[in-house]
Protein backbone atom coordinates (compact mmCIF):
# COMPACT_ATOMS: atom_id res chain seq x y z
CA UNK A 1 0.00 0.00 0.00
CA UNK A 2 1.36 3.36 -0.93
CA UNK A 3 2.06 6.09 1.58
CA UNK A 4 -0.70 8.68 1.88
CA UNK A 5 0.04 11.84 -0.04
CA UNK A 6 1.60 14.50 2.12
CA UNK A 7 0.63 18.08 1.56
CA UNK A 8 3.53 20.25 0.57
CA UNK A 9 2.32 22.77 3.15
CA UNK A 10 2.81 20.30 5.96
CA UNK A 11 6.01 20.39 7.93
CA UNK A 12 7.35 17.83 10.32
CA UNK A 13 8.62 18.67 13.76
CA UNK A 14 12.07 17.61 12.59
CA UNK A 15 11.90 20.18 9.83
CA UNK A 16 10.96 22.88 12.32
CA UNK A 17 13.87 21.89 14.51
CA UNK A 18 16.28 21.87 11.61
CA UNK A 19 15.07 25.27 10.45
CA UNK A 20 15.42 26.75 13.92
CA UNK A 21 18.93 25.35 14.26
CA UNK A 22 19.89 26.68 10.84
CA UNK A 23 18.68 30.13 11.81
CA UNK A 24 20.82 29.99 14.91
CA UNK A 25 17.89 30.61 17.20
CA UNK A 26 18.51 30.50 20.91
CA UNK A 27 15.95 27.73 21.16
CA UNK A 28 18.21 24.67 21.27
CA UNK A 29 20.35 24.53 24.33
CA UNK A 30 22.59 21.64 25.33
CA UNK A 31 22.11 20.16 28.76
CA UNK A 32 24.81 18.83 31.04
CA UNK A 33 25.95 15.21 31.03
CA UNK A 34 23.47 12.92 32.78
CA UNK A 35 20.92 15.69 33.08
CA UNK A 36 17.46 14.75 31.89
CA UNK A 37 15.94 17.15 29.46
CA UNK A 38 12.58 17.72 27.88
CA UNK A 39 12.20 18.69 24.25
CA UNK A 40 9.27 20.94 23.55
CA UNK A 41 7.92 22.73 20.51
CA UNK A 42 7.24 26.33 21.43
CA UNK A 43 4.02 27.79 20.13
CA UNK A 44 2.38 31.15 20.66
CA UNK A 45 -1.31 31.48 21.38
CA UNK A 46 -2.32 35.11 21.76
CA UNK A 47 0.38 36.60 23.96
CA UNK A 48 1.18 33.33 25.73
CA UNK A 49 4.01 30.96 24.81
CA UNK A 50 3.27 27.30 25.36
CA UNK A 51 5.64 24.35 25.24
CA UNK A 52 4.29 21.14 23.73
CA UNK A 53 6.40 18.01 24.40
CA UNK A 54 7.94 16.79 21.16
CA UNK A 55 6.96 13.22 22.07
CA UNK A 56 3.33 14.20 21.60
CA UNK A 57 3.82 16.11 18.35
CA UNK A 58 2.99 14.30 15.14
CA UNK A 59 3.33 17.07 12.61
CA UNK A 60 2.83 20.76 12.01
CA UNK A 61 0.67 21.95 9.16
CA UNK A 62 -1.33 24.81 7.74
CA UNK A 63 -5.03 24.16 8.21
CA UNK A 64 -6.70 25.87 5.28
CA UNK A 65 -9.46 23.37 4.49
CA UNK A 66 -11.59 22.99 7.60
CA UNK A 67 -14.84 21.00 7.50
CA UNK A 68 -17.41 22.04 10.09
CA UNK A 69 -18.58 19.31 12.47
CA UNK A 70 -22.14 19.35 13.76
CA UNK A 71 -22.96 19.40 17.46
CA UNK A 72 -19.56 20.49 18.69
CA UNK A 73 -18.60 23.24 21.15
CA UNK A 74 -17.13 26.49 19.76
CA UNK A 75 -13.53 25.50 20.47
CA UNK A 76 -13.80 22.65 17.94
CA UNK A 77 -13.43 24.40 14.60
CA UNK A 78 -13.90 21.30 12.49
CA UNK A 79 -11.90 18.58 10.79
CA UNK A 80 -8.73 18.88 8.78
CA UNK A 81 -7.16 16.26 6.56
CA UNK A 82 -3.68 15.43 7.79
CA UNK A 83 -1.89 12.89 5.65
CA UNK A 84 -5.13 11.17 4.78
CA UNK A 85 -6.57 11.15 8.30
CA UNK A 86 -9.41 13.23 9.70
CA UNK A 87 -8.13 15.31 12.60
CA UNK A 88 -10.25 17.61 14.77
CA UNK A 89 -8.98 21.19 14.84
CA UNK A 90 -9.10 22.85 18.26
CA UNK A 91 -9.03 26.62 18.63
CA UNK A 92 -6.53 26.71 21.46
CA UNK A 93 -7.04 30.40 22.22
CA UNK A 94 -10.76 29.93 22.60
CA UNK A 95 -10.47 26.74 24.61
CA UNK A 96 -7.92 28.18 27.02
CA UNK A 97 -9.60 31.57 27.18
CA UNK A 98 -6.56 33.38 25.80
CA UNK A 99 -7.00 36.69 24.06
CA UNK A 100 -5.64 36.82 20.50
CA UNK A 101 -2.97 39.40 19.77
CA UNK A 102 -4.51 41.30 16.83
CA UNK A 103 -1.38 43.26 16.02
CA UNK A 104 0.70 40.09 15.79
CA UNK A 105 -1.89 37.65 14.49
CA UNK A 106 -2.77 39.50 11.29
CA UNK A 107 -1.50 36.63 9.19
CA UNK A 108 -4.55 34.66 8.05
CA UNK A 109 -2.76 31.34 7.73
CA UNK A 110 -3.93 28.81 10.27
CA UNK A 111 -1.00 26.96 11.75
CA UNK A 112 -1.83 23.79 13.55
CA UNK A 113 0.38 21.54 15.60
CA UNK A 114 -0.99 18.00 15.46
CA UNK A 115 -0.62 16.18 18.77
CA UNK A 116 -1.54 12.73 20.05
CA UNK A 117 -2.20 11.21 23.46
CA UNK A 118 -3.37 7.62 23.57
CA UNK A 119 -6.11 7.20 21.01
CA UNK A 120 -6.81 10.92 20.83
CA UNK A 121 -5.38 13.14 18.14
CA UNK A 122 -6.06 16.81 17.44
CA UNK A 123 -4.68 19.79 15.61
CA UNK A 124 -4.08 22.74 17.92
CA UNK A 125 -4.53 26.06 16.20
CA UNK A 126 -1.85 28.53 17.16
CA UNK A 127 -0.57 31.89 15.98
CA UNK A 128 3.10 30.99 15.74
CA UNK A 129 5.36 27.95 15.90
CA UNK A 130 8.87 28.75 17.03
CA UNK A 131 11.07 25.69 16.80
CA UNK A 132 12.16 23.20 19.42
CA UNK A 133 13.83 23.94 22.71
CA UNK A 134 15.55 21.55 25.14
CA UNK A 135 14.75 22.23 28.76
CA UNK A 136 16.77 20.64 31.57
CA UNK A 137 14.99 19.41 34.67
CA UNK A 138 16.57 22.20 36.70
CA UNK A 139 14.91 24.77 34.46
CA UNK A 140 11.41 23.45 35.03
CA UNK A 141 9.43 25.07 37.82
CA UNK A 142 5.95 24.48 39.16
CA UNK A 143 3.56 26.74 37.24
CA UNK A 144 3.05 29.26 40.03
CA UNK A 145 2.47 32.11 37.59
CA UNK A 146 -0.57 30.37 36.14
CA UNK A 147 -3.72 31.36 37.96
CA UNK A 148 -6.25 31.23 35.15
CA UNK A 149 -8.73 28.42 35.89
CA UNK A 150 -8.90 27.32 32.25
CA UNK A 151 -5.14 27.26 31.80
CA UNK A 152 -4.21 25.72 35.14
CA UNK A 153 -5.38 22.13 34.53
CA UNK A 154 -3.27 21.76 31.39
CA UNK A 155 -0.01 23.42 32.46
CA UNK A 156 2.45 21.21 34.34
CA UNK A 157 5.59 23.35 34.41
CA UNK A 158 6.89 26.74 33.52
CA UNK A 159 10.35 27.72 32.36
CA UNK A 160 12.18 30.77 31.12
CA UNK A 161 13.24 30.58 27.49
CA UNK A 162 15.30 33.65 26.73
CA UNK A 163 13.28 36.55 28.06
CA UNK A 164 9.97 34.78 27.67
CA UNK A 165 8.04 32.55 29.99
CA UNK A 166 7.10 29.21 28.46
CA UNK A 167 4.25 27.15 29.91
CA UNK A 168 4.64 23.41 29.43
CA UNK A 169 1.45 21.69 28.45
CA UNK A 170 0.14 18.28 29.50
CA UNK A 171 -1.17 17.14 26.13
CA UNK A 172 -3.24 14.27 27.53
CA UNK A 173 -5.03 16.61 29.95
CA UNK A 174 -5.55 19.14 27.19
CA UNK A 175 -7.08 16.65 24.78
CA UNK A 176 -9.17 15.01 27.48
CA UNK A 177 -10.59 18.39 28.45
CA UNK A 178 -11.20 19.50 24.87
CA UNK A 179 -12.82 16.29 23.66
CA UNK A 180 -16.49 16.36 22.73
CA UNK A 181 -18.56 14.38 25.19
Amino acid sequence: MSEPARSERQLTADAVSAAATARGEAGVRPTGPGERSTSVVRIRVGEVWLGVPCAAVETICVANEVTAVPRTPPHVLGLINVQGRAVPLVDLARYLGLTPAPDRDADDSKRAIVVTAGEMRAGLLCAQVCGIVELGQAELRPPHSVTDPQLKPVVVHEADVGERLCLLVDVAALLEGARVR
Binding site: A68, P70, R179
Partner: protein, 154 residues
Protein backbone atom coordinates in the same frame (compact mmCIF):
# COMPACT_ATOMS: atom_id res chain seq x y z
CA UNK B 1 -24.82 -12.34 -15.62
CA UNK B 2 -22.98 -10.68 -12.77
CA UNK B 3 -21.50 -7.26 -13.42
CA UNK B 4 -18.76 -7.87 -10.88
CA UNK B 5 -15.33 -8.77 -12.23
CA UNK B 6 -14.27 -12.39 -12.04
CA UNK B 7 -12.09 -13.28 -9.08
CA UNK B 8 -9.59 -16.05 -8.55
CA UNK B 9 -9.87 -18.85 -6.00
CA UNK B 10 -9.82 -17.53 -2.46
CA UNK B 11 -10.19 -13.93 -3.61
CA UNK B 12 -13.07 -11.82 -2.50
CA UNK B 13 -15.10 -9.90 -5.00
CA UNK B 14 -14.58 -6.17 -4.51
CA UNK B 15 -17.30 -4.62 -2.43
CA UNK B 16 -19.39 -2.26 -4.53
CA UNK B 17 -19.06 1.39 -3.62
CA UNK B 18 -21.47 2.92 -1.17
CA UNK B 19 -24.17 4.96 -2.87
CA UNK B 20 -25.12 7.96 -0.77
CA UNK B 21 -27.72 10.67 -0.85
CA UNK B 22 -25.78 13.68 0.36
CA UNK B 23 -27.29 16.96 1.49
CA UNK B 24 -25.70 20.17 2.67
CA UNK B 25 -27.32 22.00 5.56
CA UNK B 26 -25.58 25.23 6.42
CA UNK B 27 -21.89 24.40 6.74
CA UNK B 28 -22.43 20.67 7.24
CA UNK B 29 -22.75 17.92 4.65
CA UNK B 30 -24.39 14.71 5.76
CA UNK B 31 -25.41 11.62 3.83
CA UNK B 32 -27.79 8.71 3.99
CA UNK B 33 -27.44 5.36 2.28
CA UNK B 34 -29.32 5.93 -0.98
CA UNK B 35 -30.87 2.45 -0.94
CA UNK B 36 -33.01 3.45 2.03
CA UNK B 37 -34.69 6.29 0.19
CA UNK B 38 -38.14 5.50 -1.13
CA UNK B 39 -39.05 8.96 -2.35
CA UNK B 40 -37.58 12.41 -2.58
CA UNK B 41 -39.53 15.60 -3.16
CA UNK B 42 -39.61 19.30 -2.35
CA UNK B 43 -40.99 20.16 1.06
CA UNK B 44 -44.52 21.53 1.00
CA UNK B 45 -44.47 24.81 2.93
CA UNK B 46 -48.24 24.78 3.28
CA UNK B 47 -48.44 21.53 5.12
CA UNK B 48 -48.22 22.27 8.85
CA UNK B 49 -47.95 19.15 10.93
CA UNK B 50 -46.42 17.32 8.06
CA UNK B 51 -43.43 18.78 6.20
CA UNK B 52 -43.03 21.64 8.66
CA UNK B 53 -44.53 20.17 11.75
CA UNK B 54 -43.46 17.88 14.52
CA UNK B 55 -43.89 14.70 12.54
CA UNK B 56 -40.69 14.84 10.59
CA UNK B 57 -37.04 14.48 11.45
CA UNK B 58 -35.59 17.90 10.79
CA UNK B 59 -31.90 17.36 10.12
CA UNK B 60 -31.03 21.03 10.61
CA UNK B 61 -32.47 20.94 14.13
CA UNK B 62 -30.94 17.55 14.84
CA UNK B 63 -27.51 18.73 13.75
CA UNK B 64 -27.82 21.96 15.68
CA UNK B 65 -27.21 24.11 12.62
CA UNK B 66 -27.98 27.80 13.13
CA UNK B 67 -31.39 28.44 11.55
CA UNK B 68 -30.01 31.55 9.85
CA UNK B 69 -27.67 29.35 7.84
CA UNK B 70 -30.36 26.97 6.68
CA UNK B 71 -31.91 27.55 3.26
CA UNK B 72 -35.69 27.95 3.50
CA UNK B 73 -36.25 25.55 0.64
CA UNK B 74 -35.81 21.95 1.64
CA UNK B 75 -36.21 18.44 0.30
CA UNK B 76 -38.04 15.71 2.09
CA UNK B 77 -36.90 12.12 1.83
CA UNK B 78 -38.97 9.18 2.88
CA UNK B 79 -36.91 6.27 4.13
CA UNK B 80 -37.81 2.63 4.40
CA UNK B 81 -36.15 1.23 7.50
CA UNK B 82 -37.02 -2.46 7.54
CA UNK B 83 -40.60 -1.70 6.63
CA UNK B 84 -40.92 1.33 8.86
CA UNK B 85 -41.30 4.62 7.03
CA UNK B 86 -39.51 7.69 8.25
CA UNK B 87 -39.63 11.15 6.75
CA UNK B 88 -36.55 13.33 6.97
CA UNK B 89 -36.27 17.00 6.12
CA UNK B 90 -33.01 17.55 4.26
CA UNK B 91 -31.30 20.66 2.92
CA UNK B 92 -32.05 22.41 -0.34
CA UNK B 93 -29.23 20.79 -2.25
CA UNK B 94 -29.28 17.03 -2.55
CA UNK B 95 -26.97 14.93 -4.66
CA UNK B 96 -26.15 11.30 -5.24
CA UNK B 97 -22.55 10.39 -4.44
CA UNK B 98 -20.59 7.20 -4.72
CA UNK B 99 -17.97 6.45 -2.07
CA UNK B 100 -15.69 3.41 -1.89
CA UNK B 101 -16.00 1.56 1.41
CA UNK B 102 -12.34 1.96 2.21
CA UNK B 103 -12.81 5.73 2.17
CA UNK B 104 -15.24 5.59 5.08
CA UNK B 105 -13.59 6.13 8.45
CA UNK B 106 -14.93 6.20 12.00
CA UNK B 107 -15.16 9.55 13.71
CA UNK B 108 -11.97 10.57 15.55
CA UNK B 109 -11.87 9.68 19.24
CA UNK B 110 -11.92 13.38 20.15
CA UNK B 111 -15.40 13.61 18.63
CA UNK B 112 -16.84 10.56 20.38
CA UNK B 113 -19.64 12.68 21.80
CA UNK B 114 -21.10 13.46 18.40
CA UNK B 115 -20.48 9.99 17.07
CA UNK B 116 -23.73 8.37 18.13
CA UNK B 117 -25.57 10.00 15.27
CA UNK B 118 -23.05 9.01 12.62
CA UNK B 119 -21.75 5.77 11.18
CA UNK B 120 -18.58 7.44 10.01
CA UNK B 121 -17.19 10.05 7.67
CA UNK B 122 -15.75 10.18 4.20
CA UNK B 123 -13.61 12.70 2.37
CA UNK B 124 -15.19 13.96 -0.84
CA UNK B 125 -13.83 16.82 -2.92
CA UNK B 126 -11.59 17.95 -0.09
CA UNK B 127 -14.34 18.12 2.52
CA UNK B 128 -15.72 15.58 4.94
CA UNK B 129 -19.27 14.36 4.82
CA UNK B 130 -20.90 12.60 7.73
CA UNK B 131 -22.78 9.35 7.24
CA UNK B 132 -25.98 9.36 9.24
CA UNK B 133 -26.98 6.25 11.16
CA UNK B 134 -30.59 5.57 10.09
CA UNK B 135 -31.31 3.66 13.28
CA UNK B 136 -30.33 6.71 15.32
CA UNK B 137 -32.58 8.85 13.16
CA UNK B 138 -35.40 6.45 13.84
CA UNK B 139 -34.72 6.63 17.58
CA UNK B 140 -35.10 10.38 17.43
CA UNK B 141 -38.18 10.41 15.22
CA UNK B 142 -41.40 11.62 16.80
CA UNK B 143 -43.44 8.52 17.44
CA UNK B 144 -46.64 10.09 16.14
CA UNK B 145 -45.39 9.98 12.58
CA UNK B 146 -43.84 6.58 12.70
CA UNK B 147 -46.02 4.04 11.02
CA UNK B 148 -45.46 0.42 10.32
CA UNK B 149 -46.13 -0.45 6.74
CA UNK B 150 -45.81 -3.61 4.78
CA UNK B 151 -42.43 -3.86 3.11
CA UNK B 152 -42.74 -3.22 -0.60
CA UNK B 153 -41.48 -6.67 -1.50
CA UNK B 154 -43.81 -8.52 0.90
Amino acid sequence: MSAEPATGPGERAPRPPLLLLATTIGPVTVALEAGLVVSLRAADPGAPGADNGPGIVDLAALLGVDAALVAPEARVAELDLDGERLRVRLGRRVELRSVPWHAVDPLPAMLAGVGDLFLGLALLDGRYLFLLDPDRLRDRAPTVFRSNVEPAHA
